[in-house]
Symmetry: C2
Subunit: 237 residues, 2 copies
């Protein structure tokens, strides 16, 4: 019997949404990684996503799921970390024409930096994140040139990067449509019922329902329709 | 009378130590910046440095001093965020030959990323930090190539950087010796008695004394001697 090669280790950033759940499935089942997962409690108004991230990690059999706390409310500048209303019922043109109020300053830069610290401590050589340039063209930190630049920077900044074990940052969904992501995840048996995408969820009879009208709900809903996959999400309307 | 040009805005990362206090003085008095200051509560064992950062900001007349909390203890990997003993009585050869246990994984990357978010929200175009490559050659994230790469990355990641107001990262002390830093700060009236450098301070009769023997104390002590400036630090021995 041939000797089994030990799996490469990866840290996967989980938001609790469908994109990062898919990125985790790709890391585990397409790329054969042994994964730790990381969720960031940054004072987001949609805190139910932290519970969703934990459910996703548990369902994927991840034994090392971490939650790191950073108070981005103290910085402000985003409707996701304040009481400013989240935009509703926007069409794709409006979503991609400008940076929306849901943009959190430097969020992916901060999250990737924290992931790099976790990767260094766990001995992981890969970081996966579920960013996507097509649906979120308004967010500058969801594009491949940012990922490439970050990879260079992190390898100049860390013990791992400067002692011959450089980190590789993988964003497998960056050029996929929401429908392609949902089809890829479905073929890898991702249970999207465990995920939450809504920026502004509503609690009704102790169930957490997606609002159905924020940018994130609109993209999710349309994605399931376009993928021809049944949407398991509970929407408030 | 000629019209006064409004000052450029900067965010200065303050650790409470002498380097960052000097970087603040350079930003204010040599470069003429209007400064906000930022200290990071990351669960460091030498938490007295947060009080020192506040004193330094207050003495410098900074009206916007922020403290952002991120729990790096949950990541570990450093003697500064755990109960592992801090190394003592090392010579310069030992300090620079390897990355020490006081290295905090990806710390400056994380701190600069948070600073970038603060800069974006406050409209600052400059970030100052007091890193120094000569005395801390063991830390990969204290070198100019890292700063240059980070500046590129941040300008791909943020609203400010991608909409025509790029951030500039300044590390004015990066190539200075500790003695040069102390002389520069002294000429700009920095009160070093307000600063704390020790990784492992000792409380005696309710006074916080520097241990005098960790890498940071050794470099500070020797720096004052080499600069010919009286050291105002209270050392335990």
């Amino acid at each position: 019997m041939p000797e089994q090669t030990p799996k490469s280790r990866a840290v996967v950033l989980l938001s609790g949404g469908l994109d990062s759940a898919t990125a985790l499935a790709i890391a585990q089942h397409q790329d054969g990684m042994a994964c730790s997962t990381l969720a960031i409690d940054y004072g987001q108004r949609h805190r139910h996503e932290l519970a969703a991230a934990e459910r996703v990690a548990h369902a994927a059999g991840v034994s090392d799921h971490r939650v790191i706390t950073i108070d981005l409310r103290a910085i402000g500048g985003s409707s996701l970390t304040s009481d400013t209303p989240v935009p509703k019922d926007r069409d794709h043109g409006a979503m991609s024409s400008a940076i929306p109020s849901t943009y959190v300053p430097a969020r992916n830069l901060i999250f990737l930096s924290i992931s790099a610290a976790v990767a260094e401590v766990t001995g992981a050589r890969f970081i996966y994140l579920g960013i996507n340039a097509l649906d979120y063209s308004g967010y500058p930190d969801c594009r491949q040139p940012f990922i490439d630049a970050f990879q260079q920077t992190v390898n100049l900044a860390t013990k791992a990067g400067t002692t011959g074990s450089p980190l590789e940052i993988r964003a497998p969904l960056v050029h996929m449509t929401k429908a392609q992501i949902i089809r890829a995840g479905t073929s890898l048996s991702v249970n999207y019922a465990l995920t939450h995408s809504c920026y502004d969820p509503i609690v009704r009879d102790s169930a957490i329902l997606a609002c159905g009208h924020c940018d994130s709900c609109i993209l999710r809903r349309e994605g399931f329709v376009a993928a021809g996959v049944t949407d398991p999400t509970g929407y408030a309307r």
